[in-house]
Symmetry: C2
Subunit: 366 residues, 2 copies
DNA sequence: CTGTTAGCGCATTCAG
DNA sequence: CTGAATGCGCTAACAG
C-alpha cells in the first residue's frame, strides 16, 4: 500500500496553510520576519502533509549542499575506516552528509574524484593526498566557498589546513629507544612507491632540510629513522631499508623476507615499520621465518591495532589517534564553512604515544 | 590565480556553439537525434569553456541522482570497511557515487538515516538493518524507482534483495567439527542486544522453525550452534552461552571472562564466536586468563582477519567473503536500477569456508 | 534534426 | 509582516 502521490512540495503546504509559498518558506526555514501565529499554522500544515524540503532544489539556489566529500586511498584499511568514523560522527552532529570516493592511492584517480566532488558542489573536502607534491587539482578546489582539509598528510604546496601526527619525531623517538637498547642494525620496512630513487638519495643526503610537508607519511617516518641514527652517531646501512612496491600486506611481507634473508650479512637485530600494512606484513614474515620476537629480533609496529596485544609477547607500538585525526579534520573543515575559522591554513599536529610492551630486547654491545 | 568566473553553464556553451540550449544538451547528453557535425561543434565549445554539467540541476528534472546510500552500523569495523570497499568499487565502475551514514546499530538512528537518504533522492540504498524485524522504514523506502538491498542480513518482513552468507550452516558445520573432535562443553560468545529474553527461549524451544530471516546474524549463528548440538544429540547448557551487552570488544571480553571463570562448573573445553568483534574480545580474554590455545581450550573465530594467522598457533576460522558481499550487493542494486533485474526480491547466499588451522585439539571421551 | 516553451522545488529580490 | 515575480541549470515535451 505504498502511497503513489508524489512528495508534497512547498506549494502544497502553502495552499493548505493559506499563505504564499514565500511566506511558507520563511516560516519553515526560520529566516526573514514572520508572525508567530503564521509560523504555527504553516508548521501544522507541513506536519499534516508530512512535508520534507527538497535539498536538491535548495542547493540549486543557495549553492550549498550540506555535504562534504571525503577522498581516501583505501576505504578498507583500518586506518581510514577509523578516521572516516571520526569524520562521520562530527559531520552527522553538525548536519552534514558524506560523499566518499576511493582512489587506490592513484593521483589520476584522485583528480577524477576531485572533479566529481566539485561537480556535485560539495561544501568541503577532506583528502589524504596520494602525493603531497602533486596537488594542483586540490589547490584548484579551494575557493572562499569551498574548504579543503588534508588528513594524515600535509603539503608545502598548499595553503590548507592539515591534521596529522608528528611522525618524524615519533619515529625518531622509537628508533632512538632501539638504539639506546644497544641495537646497531635496525631494519625498516617502508613504502616508497611514489617517490623516485632520487628522493631517497636526497633524503639520505640532507636530513636537516628535508621538509615534512614535502614527504608522504612513510617517507617522513623513514626520515625519523634516519635522524635517530644520526643523533646517535650510528651509520646507516641502506641494505636495512626495505621498500615495498605497493601498499599491501603481501608486498610488505616479501620486502621483510628479503631483509630477513640477509641477516647474516647485515647483522640485523630489530625491525620497525611505518604503518599498519607494513606492520602486519613484517610481523607475518618474521613468524614465517621461524624467528621469535623479541628473543631473535626486536620489533616495533606502527598503529595500535588489536592484534598487537593478541600476539604473545605483545608488540610495542607507536600509537596515533586515528579517530581523532578524522574527527578533528571534520571539525576544522566545518569551522571554515561556518566562518568560525578565518585564519590561514594551519598545520595541526596530534600527539602520538609510544606504548611499551614486550617486543624489544636489549642487545649486548660488542 | 583562481578564476573568479562562475562555472560555465549549458547556456554559455550554446551561445558559443551557436545552437539552442536544447540542441546543446542533446549533443552533450547523447540522447535524442542529433547531427554529427553539430555534436562536434558543441563538444568543441564545451571543451573550450571547460564546461561541466551540473548534476544538481539534472537531478531536479530526472529525479535521478546517480547516488546510492549506504547505511551501516559501524564504519570503523573491519567487516563494514571491507564491504564498503566492495560497494564503492562497483559503484564507481558504474558511475554512481556513495553517500554513507553511520547508525551505531540503532533503529531510531537508522530511521533518520533513511529519511535523510530519501530526502536526498538517492537512487538506491544498501543497508544492514539494525533489527531485521523493525523494518517498516525500509519498506517505505522501496518504490519502483528506488531499490533496496540488504547486506549481511535478510528480513522476512521485506520483499527486497539480500546478500548474505548461510551462517546458520556455517556455524552448524564449525561446531559440528568441535563435537566430532570430542568436545562436549562448548562455549559461544554472541550478541543478543536487540532480541528479547523471550526470543532466546523460543530459539531454544524451536530449532526447526526458527527462520533465518527473522534473526540477526549473531542469533542465526547461535542457532547454528544449537542445531549442531541437536544433530549430535548433545544437550545444551545455557551457562555456556555468553551474551554480550553491546557490540564492542570489551563487552565480548568480559562476557568471555565470565565463561572462563565458570570452567570448573561447566567443564568448557572450547569456545566459538560469531563475528570479528566477539572473536577479538574472546581471544583476548583467553590470553588474559593465561590459557593456551589449543592446549587448554580449543577456539574457532568468525571472519578470517589478519590477526588469526599472526598469533601462534594460528586460529581456525569461519571465513566469509566480505568484499564480495559488498560488491555483490552493489551489483544487484545497480541491476535493479538499470532495469536489468526485474525478478522479485531474491535472497543471495555467498559461500563461507572453514579454514582449518591449529586452534582445535581433540578431546578424550570419558 | 533543431528551436521554443515550460517547469523541477525552492530561496530570494522587491513591492505592498 | 506578507505576496508576486524571478531564476538556479537543466531536461522534456512539443512544434517546426
Amino acid at each position: 500500500m505504498s502511497d503513489v502521490r508524489k512528495q508534497p512540495t512547498l506549494h502544497d503546504v502553502a495552499r493548505l496553510a493559506g499563505f504564499s509559498t514565500s511566506t511558507t518558506a520563511r516560516a519553515l526555514g526560520n529566516y526573514g520576519r514572520i508572525a508567530e501565529t503564521t509560523r504555527e499554522k504553516v508548521r501544522a500544515a507541513a506536519d499534516e502533509l508530512g512535508y520534507r524540503a527538497n535539498p536538491l532544489a535548495r542547493s540549486m539556489i543557495t549553492g550549498k549542499t550540506k555535504t562534504i566529500g571525503v577522498v581516501c586511498a583505501d576505504l578498507s584499511s583500518p586506518f581510514f575506516a577509523e578516521a572516516l568514523r571520526g569524520i562521520s560522527d562530527v559531520a552527522k552532529g553538525r548536519g552534514y552528509d558524506i560523499l566518499i570516493v576511493n582512489t587506490d592511492e592513484d593521483v589520476a584517480s584522485e583528480r577524477d574524484a576531485v572533479a566529481l566532488l566539485r561537480d556535485r558542489h560539495v561544501d568541503g573536502v577532506i583528502v589524504s593526498p596520494a602525493d603531497v607534491r602533486q596537488v594542483g587539482h586540490l589547490a584548484a578546489l579551494q575557493t572562499p566557498e569551498r574548504a579543503l582539509v588534508l588528513l594524515d598528510r600535509s603539503s608545502a604546496a598548499l595553503d590548507a589546513d592539515s591534521v596529522t601526527v608528528d611522525d618524524v619525531s615519533a619515529m625518531t623517538d622509537a628508533v632512538g629507544r632501539l638504539l639506546d637498547a644497544g641495537h646497531r642494525h635496525i631494519g625498516i620496512v617502508t613504502e616508497l612507491r611514489i617517490e623516485r630513487e632520487a628522493d631517497w638519495q636526497s633524503l639520505l643526503g640532507d636530513l636537516d632540510h628535508s621538509e615534512r610537508r614535502e614527504l608522504n607519511p612513510s617517507s617522513r617516518r623513514l626520515l625519523g629513522y634516519l635522524r635517530a641514527h644520526r643523533e646517535h652517531d650510528i651509520p646507516i646501512d641502506p641494505a636495512l631499508v626495505a621498500r615495498t612496491g605497493a601498499t599491501s600486506v603481501d608486498s610488505a611481507r616479501s620486502a621483510t623476507t628479503r631483509l630477513l634473508d640477509q641477516r647474516a650479512q647485515t647483522g640485523m637485530t630489530a625491525v620497525v615499520t611505518v604503518d599498519n600494512t607494513t606492520s602486519v606484513g613484517a610481523y607475518g614474515a618474521i613468524r614465517d621465518h621461524g624467528l621469535r620476537v623479541p628473543d631473535d629480533l626486536s620489533f616495533i609496529a606502527f598503529d595500535n591495532l588489536d592484534w598487537t596485544t593478541l600476539v604473545q609477547p605483545a608488540v610495542s607500538v607507536i600509537e596515533q589517534p586515528v579517530y581523532a585525526l578524522g574527527s578533528r579534520a571534520a571539525e576544522v573543515l566545518l569551522d571554515r564553512l561556518d566562518g568560525t575559522r578565518d585564519t590561514p591554513g594551519e598545520e595541526i599536529l596530534l600527539d602520538t604515544r609510544f606504548i611499551e610492551r614486550e617486543s624489544i630486547r636489549a642487545v649486548q654491545q660488542v
